[in-house]
Symmetry: C2
């Protein structure tokens, strides 16, 4: 069984699995039955070695000369991530981002289905958003227990996210997908995964600044000149 191999400490590999799954589904759709690590590597611009190591933890084995059996890979990854049977989730915070997530159709194929949406703002309660009727957050605890929901999605403003996390933890929710820029304080046993846009933007900003420093010298007062991209420099970073 694949589950036994599920050790802590290969989170980076786990993080790459969805990309593999994506590719494999595309390949499967075109009828391709076997795929080699070298082919995956060239497609996703990674090292073949890394791919073999990543795929190893799903438990499936490849055949020399042919590669890996694509349908088996798909099945194994989906099982490994439990994306084969649906997990019910509550979403709290029916603002712009919450609404976007509620409307996103792709979660179904990742084993996630949002079954109810909540908001603390009385003005929003009762209204329909993306087909969901917004419920008052006071009802969350009771509903979570009755419906046995174990996953929560937080898309509220920063100042309210800790309170929501408390409510969720108290209601039997033990996995929180947190879209607010706050380091949540949760009881032992509750898992938090953060999606931090500011963090991501910081990396982009920094890379951009770093590249500017690399390619242009600073003028005396420390200001940077805008970069003009030479038109003839339009080449792909990788061949193929």
């Amino acid at each position: 069984m694949a589950a036994e191999k599920a050790r802590a400490g290969n989170l980076m590999s786990v993080r790459r699995l969805p990309a593999y799954l994506n590719l494999f589904k595309q390949l499967n759709a075109t009828g391709r039955e076997f795929v080699s690590s070298t082919h995956i590597a060239s497609e996703l611009r990674l090292q073949p070695d890394q791919i073999r190591k990543d795929l190893a933890l799903t438990g499936i084995v490849g055949k020399p000369k042919s590669g890996y059996h694509v349908p088996a890979l798909i099945k194994a990854i989906e099982e490994f991530l439990r994306w084969d049977n649906n997990t019910d989730a509550f979403l709290v915070g029916a603002g712009n981002l919450g609404s976007a997530l509620l409307g996103y159709q792709g979660f179904a194929q990742h084993g996630l289905s949002i079954v109810a949406a909540f908001d603390a703002d009385p003005a929003k309660v009762g209204h329909m958003v993306q087909g969901y009727q917004i419920l008052p957050v006071e009802k969350l605890a009771d509903l979570a227990k009755r419906m046995h929901v174990h996953m929560g999605i937080i898309t509220v403003p920063a100042e309210h996210s800790q309170a929501i996390a408390d409510t969720m933890s108290f209601s039997g929710i033990n996995a929180i997908w947190n879209f607010s820029p706050v380091n949540l304080d949760v009881p032992d046993g509750v898992i938090v995964e953060n999606v931090d846009l500011a963090s991501s933007l910081a990396v982009l900003s920094h890379k951009l600044v770093f590249r500017m420093i690399q390619e242009h010298t600073l003028s005396e007062d420390g200001e940077l000149e805008p970069i003009a991209i030479p038109e003839d420099n339009f080449e792909r970073s990788t061949g193929e």
Copy 2:
């Protein structure tokens, strides 16, 4: 100057800077002038050592016994990330997620301002979304060059994102914030930062599965029992 310290290879530190900045702004609002690494550590649940190392790359120095000067920290981080002067950006893909980003007010304080929004779908072009009039994607190249916009945000479905990235690269945009689950192929010199929700969800799913395996034994057929959270186990993972 802080810029000289901008080396590649401390991306993890860069990733943590926004969280520091956030905290420092809160402290500044309450009138606090100095903060020690130990205090930051207890607040953000990190190691003091790591914080000193992270802050070191902004170039500011702290005073023993007092700590770091909060306004100086804020200024240094904002300069380091160029979040002090605004960067103009184009957004392509006025769907749910794109609309959420267009409506997000918080980007201004991260030095980002979305100046125009595009879509390939003629049905969406011309309509107003979050105060932006949606422009046809054909106009992107010309506008980007004329307005000297260097940053692009991609929130289109996976199948169209590569084409948008191509258009952007060709139009002088050299930093792409990519919200589609695709490994973009871009020319040398163009920077891509990905926000991959599937990846994040995979980690959450896996952590959840892993915890279930840890705390419960598998039943014979490999099915997992749902976890009942003991009510008396409601304790914070860290004190204070």
